[in-house]
């Protein structure tokens, strides 16, 4: 007996490969397993207003660059008459609007779609920055030294020092020293100064508080300190390390948020709304050209994609046929004819497809009876049938069109040659075995076709087979496993029942 080990190894390998690739692509590329999954997207609009003074205008806005916890999906600028470009310089991104000459109130828009992402860390920085020199007025200098000493006594690292310092400054009942420091300046400035004085490189960055449907918002300051080769973010309003989830870090470092040359009274304000987008669409825009993306068929032109959409459904149909024939034991006319019919149903819709298929085959059978009297050679007879089927289909399409069915054209999706052969086989079956067998086999074929159609038209199977073609490996494994089935078919439980019942009697 041949060893079954290699067979089962192959089957296991197929299932394993299919599952793993699908999982990997799900995790890495974010392709959802279920169709119609939605994901939240923030649409943020920055609006720049200024008054131009009849001179060349150059407005430059700092843009978010890889903000922690968010990823930019797409961005665009809308400003009539202005040239726009995004300039990356020294790791900083700025959007620049320019116009030869402008006068009066000007409004510029920058829009970006952002989604939450998992990378919460800021990127590593190679060059360690130096703490900035700090200057205090006489009494404030002493108070500052005292506060730093207090914080240092309760901390062991730059992070814990920062936390401790912020706790001191945010204390609702400030001590004498902190009170003096906070008297003339906002807490954020004081924090920044104290940190730099304590020898920790620190800077103020600007973040945007995300809240659905808010307009005319401005940026809120956050503190960043440099430790462990990267900038760490602290929220100065709470004193916590890290950003709260709804803050988008817009501007980082100490460069200006907005520069306008050739204009006055410039200001920038933000509005935002929360949108939902299909997760699948997101995955495609976000991860195009990354990692396992080449495995998907999304890289192909749309026309080829729609072909693959059908092609990748074929294995499912094949599995249905194998199941119905091996396990159930249904008779069909032509082994895989049902799949082709099912594919045609996908294009025509079920009821219309069934009606047109049955009427074409029925009319074909009538014509075939006449053909058999003509005593034609087989090949010529089939060819005659093919031509006649073409005419029948066109005729049906025309009638359908006149009756107002828009599906007229879709009937042409039926595989003509297959239909011609079906008619030929059915007709021979009719002559040799009688109409009963024609109904049995024809009905069996249609039943399998409808079943395969019902499975294939499920949004889930369409989604999975198209976005995870590797899952077809699992179908392949199942088909191979069914090929090893030596048990009884369902139909045999009926076929041999007489023998068993007789024994009993």
């Amino acid at each position: 007996m041949v060893s079954r080990v290699p067979f089962y190894t192959i089957v296991t390998l197929l299932i394993f490969t299919g599952l793993c690739t699908a999982l990997l692509r799900h995790v890495q590329l974010g392709i959802p397993f279920l169709p119609g999954q939605q994901e939240k997207v923030w649409l943020i609009e920055a609006r720049v207003d200024f008054n131009a003074q009849n001179a060349p205008v150059l407005a430059s806005l700092d843009l978010p660059d890889n903000p922690p916890g968010y990823a930019i999906l797409n961005e665009l600028a809308a400003s009539p008459g202005y040239g726009f470009s995004i300039i990356e310089n020294d790791g900083r991104r700025r959007g620049e609007w320019s116009k030869n000459s402008a006068d009066g109130a000007q409004t510029l828009y920058y829009k970006a779609q952002l989604i939450r992402s998992k990378n919460l860390d800021t990127e590593l920085v190679d060059v360690t920055p130096n703490p900035q020199p700090v200057f205090w007025d006489g009494p404030e200098a002493t108070a500052a030294e005292y506060v730093i000493e207090m914080a240092q006594s309760k901390s062991s690292s730059p992070e814990s020092f920062t936390r401790e310092l912020m706790r001191l400054l945010l204390n609702p009942e400030p001590g004498q020293n902190t009170g003096l420091l906070l008297a003339n300046q906002p807490p954020v400035i004081v924090m920044d100064k104290l940190l730099n004085q304590a020898g920790i490189p620190a800077r103020i960055s600007m973040g945007l508080q995300l809240e659905d449907a808010r307009r005319r918002q401005s940026l809120v300051p956050v503190i960043e300190i440099f430790a462990k080769d990267r900038w760490l973010v602290f929220d100065p309003s709470t004193g916590q390390q890290g950003l709260s989830e709804d803050i988008l870090l817009w501007q980082r470092g100490s460069n200006s948020l907005l520069d306008v040359v050739g204009g006055v009274n410039s200001r920038v304000s933000f509005s935002m709304i929360e949108q939902t987008l299909p997760a699948l669409e997101l995955a495609q825009t976000q991860f195009a050209g990354q990692g396992f993306a080449w495995l998907g068929v999304h890289t192909l032109p749309i026309e080829e994609q729609s072909m693959f959409k059908l092609l990748f459904l074929l294995p499912l149909g094949a599995m249905v046929v194998v199941f119905m024939r091996i396990i159930v034991g249904l008779k069909t006319s032509g082994t895989f004819m049902p799949i082709l019919i099912a594919l045609a149903f996908l294009q025509t819709s079920l009821v219309l497809g069934l009606i047109s298929f049955i009427s074409i085959v029925a009319m074909g059978l009538v014509i075939r009876t006449y053909l058999s009297r003509l005593n034609l050679l087989l090949v010529s007879r089939i060819a005659t049938l093919v031509v006649l089927v073409v005419f029948l289909v066109s005729f049906l399409s025309l009638v359908g069109y006149q009756l107002g069915f828009s599906t007229g054209m879709t009937i042409t999706f039926f595989p003509m040659i297959i239909i011609a052969w079906t008619i030929e086989r059915m007709s021979i079956l009719w002559e040799e075995e009688g109409p009963r067998e024609v109904v049995t086999q024809g009905g069996g074929s249609l039943f399998v076709a409808v079943l395969a159609y019902l499975l294939m038209q499920l949004p889930l199977s369409g989604h999975l087979s198209f976005n995870f073609p590797e899952l077809n490996l699992i179908i392949l494994a199942i088909i191979m496993l069914m090929g090893q089935y030596t048990g009884y078919k369902l139909s045999e439980l009926r076929r041999f029942r007489a023998m068993i019942e007789e024994d009993k009697a």
């Binding site: 048990g487 009884y488 078919k489 076929r495 068993i500």
Partner: protein
Amino acid sequence: MNWVSPFRLAKAGILGMNCRNVDFIGRYNLRRFYPLVDDKLKTKLLAEEYGVATPTLRFVVKTQHEIGHIEDRLMDLNGFAIKPSRGSGGKGILVIIGRKGNQFIKSSGTEVSIEDIRRHLTNTLAGLYSLRGAPDVAIIEDLIEFDDTFKGYSHEGVPDIRIIVFRGYPVMAMLRLATHASDGKANLHQGAVGVGLDIATGQGLKAVQFSNPITLHPDTKMPLGDLKIPDWKNMLLLASRCYEMSNLGYIGTDIVLDKSRGAQLLELNARPGLSIQVANGKGLLPRLRHIEKIRKPHRLADDRVEYAMATFHSQGI
């Protein structure tokens, strides 16, 4: 509903289609030997080589232009059978038992003209009756004059005996009688009567039509119970020798009994059907497994037949 549990089928040793295909046909029948049995002409020539008796071959029609003057060659034949060489399931077999003027008389009694015969030959050559519609040749052979034992037992058509031969051992046999319902054909699913035969004696065991037990022939009303095949051992020998001839481990042999020439091999089948179990009221599986377990199979057909007759009697496995 009228279903039985698969466990009871297994207990009765019924061989299912999937099990037959995977465990027996797939394992014991090598693909490259199939053409020998799928092509009746090849089978016939091979049988002659091995001294296995078959109906006399008159001539072969291979090309379309031969059909034009076919009447000259049919002139001196009174009764004959036209068969597609690669037909399956008894399709395309035309049996002419005599003439009436210019007309030919079919086994069913209806008359056909030479034109009908020409069309039949054309269809055959074009591959209408062959597997997958491949072009075919038609063989014209002598009519079988069946033995008197079967007088009254067959309505039209020749009663033939199907013997399943596994590794050279005849394991199960049945007699197939054409009926009016089966239109002279000997296939059980078309309505022919199947009579299970005791391997040990050739005695009829039980008869079925459309899976239902019957006692009388539905057309001629002859009792089926007391049928006994004459010269039974020779018939088993003929079947057993087909194993060496075809190199196929699991075959169905179709044998007819000619009045004057004795047992004749009609055709071999590499995928014999399962209804033989219904006609015998017995599952094939225990017998097949028994043969599978034989370590040293007998070399000679005689020994194999002796062994089978001693082992597979109606009271045994």
